[in-house]
């Protein structure tokens, strides 16, 4: 049975998902005194439960419920039922995340204006500007303890970083440092400093890394205004005859369906589950799914242009020692169409342990070319590439026609084709990334293909006009005033930077909006 708030309490705000978006929004609302229930499909694992083991941790935390894929992206071939590598647990993917926290650039909020028409791309300007978001970015950075902001020192450089930095400087790059990381370089906010454990992706066991699990939700719960109900998988959002949402139906731990009433519903299930839930909530009043009068729900799915480069040296690197992603080169992040593509990308240090290296270096490969690279694991340095990908209407999350999950709900199919701009950018980035390692004497460099998506964006995009998108500048759906979207699904376009700081920023802003609207009784 439900905990603190009654299932029939229709004064509460119900949030679906406890990750970057939902966990932040729920906590902020509770801090403002608003009664909030977060329903989270996954279980609750605390710091001491995390395991320093890649596959065991994956089994513990990752979303492995059935999903399908289609399209020409390589992930569909190599990982047909794992389009995304994200979390199903309290804290969502902030339990897995590496902590890289960069603000978007001004022009990235108006790509249609700045990039012009790009064939096949469904570009659109965001209905807000960097200036409007700046105060909230500042609040988010302080909240998350982002290094190199608020007077917080950068993290020390690891072996992997030192190789990366030396290569970058040799190549002439100048914007190189150990990153803006939501990882404590010194004790702060009741959490200790980074012990360089090296398992940031596996849930940080020291608490140095910000996550909604350890840094937000407990603060919300302390107010007595927030209840997080784990193992509660929402299957449908309900509405009344006037088209206002009234609550949600969810399956509890035992698989029994429960109904939680609500004054406001905010969906933050990450960009695959959010549109799936809206589509699965279709009714006679909303036959194409909730908030879908534009037909844009599920469309414009973005995953960032990603790739990796690994470099092998004649001497040891031990890349796995220390923070997974504390290093960035930003020189290529600018919009410089002379390179043959619009938008830009970042390089970030990355290390994988041996098991994941074997799985992701070149999926499907075998034989000596592959194994000689693995033999050189100890001498390997790694970097990840993250850049802006083009939104395309046909890149899309849809409901599978026949496959259903164990609750009987149609599963999500994720269709993705790279845009020519994505391919041109990836080729450029691979070449430059390899040049970074070559510059300091790598004996071999490897352009590694994208992993299952860790960044999932855009499937309920923000737009000025209701016909162009699903939500307005506050994440409120154009069609249903008391239904909000609170995760990366809102992104109109993807920008070059990792998304989470912006998701948290939007959630903090949305909390102000919801509180204000509730006070004014407009919702």
């Amino acid at each position: 049975m439900a905990g603190k708030f009654d299932l029939n309490d229709d004064s509460v705000v119900v949030i679906v998902g406890s990750g970057a978006g939902g966990g932040t929004l729920g906590t902020e609302l509770a801090l403002k005194g608003i009664n909030t229930v977060i329903l989270e499909a996954g279980g609750r694992y605390e710091m001491e439960d995390f395991v320093n083991d890649e596959w065991d941790s994956f089994t513990q935390l990752a979303w492995t419920d059935m999903r399908t894929t289609s399209g020409s992206w390589r992930v569909a071939k190599d990982f047909a039922n794992l389009p995304a590598w994200i979390v199903k647990a309290v804290g969502g993917s902030t339990v897995h995340w590496a902590g890289a926290s960069l603000r978007f650039q001004e022009h990235e909020f108006k790509t249609k204006t700045v990039y012009g028409d790009v064939k096949g791309a469904n570009l659109l300007d965001w209905p807000l500007t960097l200036a409007e978001l700046e105060p909230y970015y500042a609040k988010a950075e302080s909240r998350m303890g982002v290094t190199r902001t608020n007077g917080i020192a950068g993290l020390p450089g690891s072996n992997n970083y030192k190789v990366f930095e030396a290569g970058a400087k040799k190549l002439g790059y100048t914007e190189v440092h150990t990153g803006r990381m939501a990882i404590n370089s010194a004790p702060r906010d009741g959490r200790g400093s980074c012990q360089q454990i090296g398992f940031c992706f596996q849930g940080c066991k020291s608490g140095a890394k910000w996550s909604t699990l350890i840094a937000e939700i407990p603060k919300g719960e302390d107010t007595g205004k927030l209840e997080v109900r784990s193992n509660s998988h929402v299957v449908k959002i309900e509405h009344d005859a006037k088209g206002k949402v009234t609550g949600v139906v969810y399956a509890d731990k035992a698989g029994n369906l429960q109904k939680q009433k609500a004054r406001v519903v905010a969906v933050a299930g990450n960009s695959i589950e959010t549109p799936r839930l809206l589509l699965n909530s279709a009714s006679s009043l909303f036959p194409d799914g909730l908030a879908n009068s534009s037909g844009q729900v599920g469309r414009n799915y973005m995953r960032h242009m990603t790739a990796s480069v690994y470099g092998i040296f004649d001497r040891p690197v031990h890349m796995y020692r220390g923070t997974t992603m504390a290093g960035v080169i930003s020189d290529e992040a600018k919009h410089n169409p002379a390179r043959g593509f619009v938008g830009g990308y970042e390089f970030e240090t990355l290390s994988l342990g041996l098991p994941f290296m074997a799985a992701f270096l070149n999926p499907g490969a075998w034989g000596r070319s592959f194994t000689s690279a693995i033999d050189a694991y100890e001498n390997t340095a790694g970097m990840w590439i993250v850049g802006e990908d083009m939104p395309q209407e046909s890149n899309r999350v849809t409901l599978h026609a026949t496959e259903k999950d164990k609750l009987g709900m149609p599963v999500a199919n994720v269709h993705f084709d790279d845009h020519p701009n994505d391919i041109a950018m990836r080729n450029h980035a691979w070449k430059q990334g390899q040049a970074v390692y070559d510059a300091i004497g790598a004996t071999r460099t490897m352009p590694t293909p994208p992993y299952p998506s860790t960044h999932n964006l855009g499937t309920s995009r923000m737009s000025e006009k209701p016909k162009d998108g699903v939500v307005n500048k506050f994440g409120q759906t154009h069609d249903i005033p008391n239904l909000f979207i609170s995760d990366g699904s809102q992104f109109t376009t993807g920008a070059a930077e990792n998304p989470t700081l912006t998701i948290v920023t939007l959630a903090l802003r949305q909390a102000d909006t919801i509180a204000d609207m509730m006070a004014k009784k407009t919702i």
Partner: protein, 177 residues
Amino acid sequence: MTDSRFGDGVSRRSFVKAASAAALVLTAKAVINPIEAWGMETKGLAPETVQALIQAARDIYPHDRVPDRFYAVAIKDYDVKAATDPKIKTLIEGGIAELNSAAKQAHGTDYVGVGWEEERVALLRKIEGTPFFKTLRGGLVTGLYNQKEVWPLFGYEGESASKGGYIKRGFDDITWI
């Protein structure tokens, strides 16, 4: 002196002798590696099949520093499953039979008798698209590389939280850069 390129695991190699699958001794119900000093009782598959699987596993992911026993562990599950699951048994026995007949045709010997790795790899390339090969290769990615005992051979240190992380254990000890 240890060759640091091979990590701390190098010391282990001094007491682990390795032998190729062709040197395995087969009995009616077991595969024995007298040099590495281990034996594996077979449950669902013929000992010859297990021997060929070990060889194929090494040919797919050849690591000259990794002894056969790790490959044996990596494929052991098929033998266990084959004892109760006829589908697995047919898939594996059938796949190896196909490899053996291709080897006979090309080289006049069964698969493990083919002398050069390149020649065995050429036989594997021909069946790359089959469910047998895909199952075997896919399973090895975790079956081989997710064995904790194999990690030191690649210089991967694994779990670190209980040791206080790497903050005092070399996260920034690189000297050559």
